[in-house]
Subunit: 168 residues, 2 copies
DNA sequence: CTTGAATCCTACTTGATCGATAGGATATGC
DNA sequence: GCATATCCTATCGATCAAGTAGGATTCAAG
């Protein structure tokens, strides 16, 4: 699950809109509230508008507000609006993959992984994310022991080791 | 959860090695077994070797085999070896993020999403992925109604709509 | 009816990354 | 020493991400 800078900014902006809902707020005010470049925020708000997640008004006193109540928009929707599908395998949807031989069962695994991601991002509303009152299933995930630590064994930095590991 | 071409090929190769474990197989044979470019497979096998997931032998009768039994290597490990961390937010680990204002609770959400991905990819071994006998929790995810369908509402293709949606 | 504040649109730049490919150096068994 | 492998370095084109720039358009207030 890779979240781009655009995705991260989109969620931060959406959360800011959620806490002040249904007030109309300008792109500049949203950007400075979260410490983002103003023009970048403008581009992202354009994506959110085209996805029908925010509504906009031009001119003085103009700005943006959520198109629905913050309890009726999920974080997953916001991410999809700016980054496209939550899960892709080689640029294709999980269910569109197909393999032969030893990998015939892989599509089921890709679909399961996507379902797992959805079970978090599509089940948490902007309101819940703003208040921190997550659904029980989600809260349980963050309470696990190892959830807050990177999983080692082959961390990214070790990939350029010069050592080799021949058989026996 | 984005799986690159490298990640997909790495898993397919690992599954091929898993089904013939512990036989030693050449890069060329692995590539043709899964219909992959031979040189590409070589690069990927180099990554898997440096991550200690496969062992190699040079010369005639040389090739690759899994460094551990296929029941003791997870799909997640294979993906990390070639693509780096399973989950990142703007290039950082979920637990390394930090926000102010309306987004203070976001790190918990990122961590939960990562935990969800791990609960699938780190819980399925190469052996399970090869046989299709997934753990119960994972199998339940693939059995859900909507798991095999894309989630609409803001599909990728609709992002370039020219229409605007002003307030009121 | 002008002015200023805001959205909105198009284009651009810069750098990184991805998906390969090429050629050759090195090791191994027969 | 020869065939077959791994292994290393370098390269390539295409794509994309992140952010910038400038201006056209819209609207309310004075």
């Amino acid at each position: 699950m890779q979240v781009s800078a655009r995705g991260e900014c989109a969620v931060r902006i959406a959360l800011t809109l959620a806490t002040d809902h249904p007030r109309t707020i300008s792109a500049g005010a949203l950007a400075s509230a979260q410490g983002l470049p103003g023009k970048f925020a403008e581009v992202i708000l354009g994506d959110l508008r085209r996805a029908h997640l925010v509504a906009s008004a031009r001119g003085v006193e103009g700005g943006y507000r959520l198109a629905r109540g913050p309890e009726r928009i999920s974080v997953g929707e916001v991410l999809r609006a700016v980054d496209g599908p939550l899960s892709e395998v080689r640029g294709r949807r999980p269910e569109e993959t197909s393999y032969e031989g030893a990998a015939v069962n892989l599509p089921r695994l890709w679909v399961a992984a996507r379902a797992a991601v959805r079970s978090v991002l599509d089940e948490v509303s902007l309101e819940q994310a703003a208040t921190g009152e997550f659904p029980v299933r989600v809260a349980e995930l963050t309470a696990q022991e190892g959830a807050w630590f990177p999983r080692l064994g082959c961390a990214a930095g070790t990939r350029d080791l010069k050592s080799t590991y021949p058989i026996e």
